[in-house]
């Protein structure tokens, strides 16, 4: 039997790591590459505190229509005065707080980048990091697809800069799903269940859930086939048929417009659409973005539009943001170099 009582001063909690020499250099190289690129594009840095009052992440997770479980992953602790504090679990929530507090009077476009670690209590299992090193950017005060296009071009050029060939960017729009859900008349609990099932592309589970409900048969059909709505731009046309609600139509229109802006970019062949992509922060209100590169079994970056998040901090500012996982990009880079 392994005696857990004996203190071993060398052990580390699961999900965190030391980066030594080569690995440290590789990670810093990726971090600098990212921050230099963003600086060259006119983004300016904000350094946020490592911990702050606990409410902020709670408020941020409740800003959206659907929760995503971030709230349960926040590390909370008490200071000596009994205040509830939390380790940084999400940069975007912090930057939104800062933007609302410090830039409420500014109407021009605001471009921000950040670098650092977020801390999340991931379930203790096989290799899931509890400390994630992120570099990300946010664009405030630009509600048009121009900002969405800029975000996507930033992502493509970054992955290209690191010579990560054959990367993919998946674009979804949470508004498409929200519109359908609203039209369906599902209850709050059922909505959560449906989102979970769509996230996992669980066709059979979706079928069972829909069978128990009473909704227009057209809506039922669209929801049932949602996991299949992915592919090149033609998927937007496919998604349009049988949609009557304005919110979903609006979302598709936005994606069409966005595609017109970016389709001529030399890296645009790496883009595809996935309308069943509903996973992400609860505060997303528009497009949802994920980046993938060969060799890495999960997304190397994710982001989306969040037009209502700053409102919970007192000022409404439309915004879109994206963050890269430095560790995964560094791993992808090493892997492709080895070939």
């Amino acid at each position: 039997m392994i005696d857990k009582q004996i203190k071993n001063p060398l052990r580390l909690p699961a999900g965190i790591k030391d980066y030594i020499f080569n690995e440290a250099e590789n990670h810093r190289h990726v971090e600098r590459g990212l921050t230099n690129l963003l600086q060259d594009k006119g983004y300016r840095e904000i350094i946020t505190p490592t911990f702050e009052y606990g409410e902020i992440f709670e408020i941020a997770t409740k800003a959206g229509m659907l929760r995503n479980g971030l709230d349960e992953k926040v590390y909370r602790f008490l200071d000596r005065d009994g205040n509830l504090l939390a380790l940084r679990a999400d940069f975007t929530a912090q930057i939104a707080r800062i933007a609302a507090a410090r830039f409420a009077d500014i109407e021009s476009v605001l471009k921000i980048f950040y670098t650092g670690k977020v801390f999340r209590a991931e379930p203790h299992h096989e290799g899931r990091s509890r400390e994630k090193w992120q570099v990300g950017f946010e664009i405030f005060n630009e509600a048009t697809v121009d900002a969405d296009a800029e975000a996507i071009i930033n992502i493509m050029e970054t992955l290209d800069h690191f010579k990560l060939s054959n990367f993919r960017i998946a674009i979804g729009h949470i508004g498409y799903f929200h519109g359908l859900v609203k039209e369906s008349g599902l209850s709050g609990d059922e909505r959560q269940q449906l989102r979970y099932l769509v996230e996992r592309k669980d066709m059979a589970g979706i079928g069972r859930l829909l069978d128990q409900t009473n909704m227009p048969v057209e809506v039922k059909n669209v929801l049932q086939n949602l996991p299949d709505l992915h592919g090149d731009v033609s998927v937007l046309e496919r998604a349009k048929t049988a949609i009557r609600n304005e919110k979903s139509q609006h979302a598709l229109g936005k994606l069409q417009k966005l595609w017109q802006k970016i389709s001529s970019h030399p890296l645009a062949k790496n883009i595809f659409f996935d309308l069943s992509e509903v996973e992400g922060m609860g505060y997303y209100t528009g497009i949802i973005l994920k980046a993938f590169t060969p060799g890495i079994g999960t997304e190397v970056g994710s982001g989306g539009r969040y037009d209502q998040l700053t409102a919970v901090f007192g000022t409404e500012m439309p915004a879109i943001g994206f963050s890269f996982d430095v560790h995964l990009l560094a791993s992808a880079r090493l892997m492709q170099q080895e070939e």
Partner: protein
Amino acid sequence: MTININRTQKLVAALPKGKLLKPTFALLQKAGFFFDEADQKSRKLIIEDKNRMMQALFVKPSDVPIYVEHGIADFGIVGKDSLVESCVDVFTPLELDFGQCNLAIAGYPEDLDRNWRLRSLVRVATKYPNIARVHFDKLGVQAEIISLHGSVELGVLAGLADVIVDIVETGTTLRENGLVVFEEILPVTAMFIVNKASHKLKLRQLDTVISAIAKS
């Protein structure tokens, strides 16, 4: 997550050793992937189909979800029991029409009558500690979950546990040992699961396989 997805352009499958293997090969055949009979029965751990389009890894069923979550395999076939127990983050686009059974709570018939739910503590022997924990929490019954690796029925017979949570297919093992099903927890079937990054990076190949299987 540090994840090393396979870097090959071929599809990589994690296939469950044991009962599900034969219907799995039949299923892949319907999707156009033929594996050599000798290979299917050999002790090799990695084999390739005849057209060299797919690699198959032979994996202990409960390990299939981990191979797929980490992207070592692009997809896998596994019972819903192992999938739910593993708590992995993968796509589950298809339920398959084999491997049907039930995950159930079982114990002595006297206990069923005496209402086992009224005990202050229920001792549960199981190979599915995560599923058991969530289920007893849902019931609001305080349970001591005892994790075993084989013949969980013995746990009850020998007095280690009050009930078991385990797979019930025909119920023969239970009957022969004088145990009965109290309630069913989860209907189980074989599942087709897909790595989330592979779904984007090998979209066309995977879509072809999935639609071929869905139609069959």
